[in-house]
């Protein structure tokens, strides 16, 4: 037979576990609020069973998911469906911005082949990739595909060319290779644009 304090401890432990995605201070505050609620209710209703008080307080999972949604970082495991409030602080950038940065990095480097042209292109690519990953407009799978094709692939190919000098010899083959790469970037950006979430 569990004692009252066992039940309360079990309940709070469950809330703490379910709310593990919350920042620590936010989680401690929630536990303090619930602890206070239980103590005050017990003082006001001495006859009430502890199980009844906990049942009225509600399912620890519901409380934790509400806390996640209210804290503004509940995009990950929230079940409350509070999509409007959750992604408040990030991903505000217009979805065109990362796509344009990722696509234009290559032609920029083609037009300005001498330093600091390629350095700017590289910075575009990195910034575009970060903005793409933090955006709310795409799923994780779409982000991964987008970053692989529009940022990682060009970086690797260009680095390989530069290191080995093994890139296409002569102006025309180099241009063809660049245009083919550009077509791939534009195609991927177009796909991401069409696949975005409002």
């Amino acid at each position: 037979m569990k004692t009252s304090s066992d039940l309360v401890r079990d309940y709070l432990t469950t809330v703490e576990r379910e709310a593990s995605a919350l920042p620590a201070d936010r989680r401690q505050e929630l536990l303090a609020d619930l602890t206070e609620h239980i103590e005050v209710t017990r003082a006001e209703r001495p006859g009430a069973a502890i199980g009844e008080i906990l049942a009225e307080l509600g399912d620890p999972r519901t409380i934790a998911s509400t806390a996640l949604a209210e804290s503004g970082n509940g995009t990950a495991g929230t079940q409350t469906g509070d999509d409007a409030a959750a992604p408040a602080r990030r991903g505000k950038v217009h979805p065109l911005v990362p796509l344009v940065m990722l696509t234009l990095a290559l032609p920029f480097a083609m037009v300005f082949p001498d330093l600091p042209g390629p350095a700017f292109a590289f910075a575009f690519r990195i910034t575009g990739a970060v903005l793409l990953c933090t955006s709310v407009h795409w799923s994780t799978a779409q982000k991964t595909t987008g970053v692989l094709i529009t940022a990682v692939l060009p970086t690797v190919v260009i680095a390989a060319w530069n290191l080995s000098s093994g890139g296409p010899e002569g102006d025309t083959p180099a241009l063809v290779a660049n245009v083919a790469m550009l077509a791939l970037l534009v195609g991927t950006a177009t796909w991401l644009w069409r696949a975005r979430r409002a």
């Binding site: 809330v15 505050e29 609620h37 003082a43 006001e44 009225e56 409380i63 806390a67």
Partner: protein
Amino acid sequence: MEPGDSTKQARAAAQLRKGVLEYCVLALMRDRPRYGVELLHALEDSGALATSQGTVYPLLSRLRRDDLVTTTWQESASGPPRRYYALTDNGRTALDEFTRVWPGFRDAVDTFLNTSPLSDGDPA
């Protein structure tokens, strides 16, 4: 796995409640500070706004972070000290604003619900 009618109704009520609950909580503090359990009792007595009690604490926490309410600890004659919630100036402004727009909102919904589509929409 089509949810039953009662589930649908409960979900619709929960959606409605989500939008108005924080203003009802603010309204409860309009005249004097209140402590958590006291706020929950008032919500429960209202019937329609009763919710899983524990979910109100994250809401109160956000209202505090958004500077709509402040909290102070006060000793009690019986039992442990209680955290009292009071409106800030921002909270009072938000409550006044909601109080101003709510009647128009309520009346608009009532108008749609009470108007018979036949009598209103018939061009003849």
